[in-house]
Amino acid sequence: MSNLTAYEKVAAARGNKRPMGGYFIKNMIDNFVELHGDRRFGDDGAIVAGVGFLNGEPVTVIAMERGDTIEERIKRHFGCPTPEGYRKALRLMKNAEKFNRPIICFIGSSGAYCGIDAEERGQGEAIAENLYEMMGIKAPIISVIVGEGGSGGALALGVGNRVCMLENSVYSVISPEGCATILWKDATKASDAADVLKLTAQDLKEFDVIEKIVDEKDLTNEEICDNLKKYIYEEIKELKKMSTKELLDQRYEKFRKIGR
């Protein structure tokens, strides 16, 4: 385990070179076919989704992606999903349910896209609908936080039977900068805010919010990806043994017990 401070982990999770959803799709999923659009309004570049095989197992993958080049990042609005992104994700989760295919969600975003247009098209409603519908999807769901898990915009893909985090990813109700501004009227105290928010993978494991931390220390991206792939594959095997009722009850109870 690394000894980074909470805010160093925030920086690592946001890192310019840190692999996001697209990387894990490329290195984990065979014969991936990207599927576009929400069938309502548009196609959001901040969410890459599609179908493929994980070790021969057909899966649906939904991943937040910000892009590598500046042009791509602008096109994908820096990985912040719009309502269309969340609606595309839900459409493809329903498709996965129809064909009884496990769903893997990769989460890494500072939060839901913030803009007048997103509000006009119901950003809140889109997130709410995902939380609600994911609770009833009759297929196994595994959510993985690979970067910054920014509030409701991250949770909208996070209602899984299993939730796992990479060692240096973070997951929080508010950004440390936002928290510092509210608490101390000083965004430069973000490092202190990161400490009080308890947003590291280790904190969340302690609170029983996540099941698993995937190590990063002294490992290459390839090795991390391999270990994560093994974990996901094993969990899918376990979850597939459950009846539909067991699967839905386990997912409900996982969240039901938090703050009981």
């Binding site: 913030c114 409701g152 209602v159 938090i258």
Partner: protein, 271 residues
């Protein structure tokens, strides 16, 4: 238990003092305000109702019965100044937390009801608010009752960190199970409803009502302005804006809310 007993800490104390309208700055006698549904008689601004006033206005007389009233929040992640904030909120409101839950009749129809009170830490949702609303939906599912919810909130409660965020999923799950049992849920969005509450049970009703001009949105208006540099359109994130964009069913004047709810509950009553 009568409403007055339930709220006796508050009733007869702060709530009868004159209040100042934030819009026109006029100080208004409580009796005048009460007679006008807590709407400013000078400028017609909808002033924020506390939980007691809302329950009294909506529930049939002597029918409200509270549940889980005793639940109080702990400082679970040891967040700075949270204990003091909770104490202050309790004192100011006479409530143990930002939501009051229970059962009542509305127009003779028995229903589960929750009322959020923005005077309690902006009615932000921590674990107790999430737990109380979840329990209410579970109770309503078991007892086959509809749920009416008066929603107002600044969002998830920062002071409980990730635990608050997870309440959005928890409550949404309970709303789904209530829905799947074929039962009716009507949220009434009041000023202000923002952040994680808009992004969970605020937007999950069979029928979503709102009060006129209520602020309803996900991202904060100032944050949007700062991030995008765009000028916000007039009436942005007000109830009328949401109606125009198709996200709420109807805007109902405060004086008509009880009749509208009674009517909707009667229309949905199972034979």
């Amino acid at each position: 238990m009568s409403l007055k007993d339930f709220f006796k800490g508050l009733f007869g104390k702060d709530s009868q003092e004159p209040r100042i309208c934030k819009k026109c700055n006029e100080e208004i006698k409580y009796s005048d305000l009460k007679a006008n549904h807590i709407i400013c008689p000078k400028c017609n601004a909808y002033m924020r109702m506390n939980a007691f006033e809302r329950l009294e206005a909506i529930c049939d007389a002597e029918t409200f019965s509270p549940v889980d009233e005793e639940l109080t929040s702990n400082n679970i992640i040891n967040f700075p100044e949270y204990d003091e904030k909770l104490e202050k909120a309790k004192k100011a409101t006479g409530l143990n937390e930002a939501v009051v839950c229970g059962t009542c009749s509305i127009g003779g129809k028995k229903t589960a009801i929750f009322v959020m009170d923005s005077a309690f830490m902006m009615a932000s949702m921590g674990s107790v608010v999430g737990e109380k609303i979840t329990r209410l939906f579970e109770k309503a599912t078991t007892e086959k009752l509809p749920v009416v919810g008066f929603v107002t909130s600044g969002g998830a409660r920062m002071q409980e960190g990730i635990i608050s965020l997870m309440q959005m999923a928890k409550v949404s799950g309970a709303v789904k199970r209530h829905n799947d049992a074929g039962l009716l849920y009507i949220p009434v969005l009041t000023d202000p409803t923002t952040g994680g509450i808009t992004a969970s049970f605020g937007m999950l009703g069979d029928i979503i009502l709102a009060e006129p001009k209520a602020l309803i949105g996900f991202a904060g208006a100032r944050v949007i302005e700062q991030t995008t540099g765009e000028k916000l359109p007039k009436g942005f994130q007000r109830a009328e804006f949401l109606l125009e964009h198709g996200f709420i069913d109807a805007i109902v004047d405060r004086k008509d809310l009880k009749d509208t709810l009674s009517n909707l509950l009667a229309i949905h009553a199972k034979a």
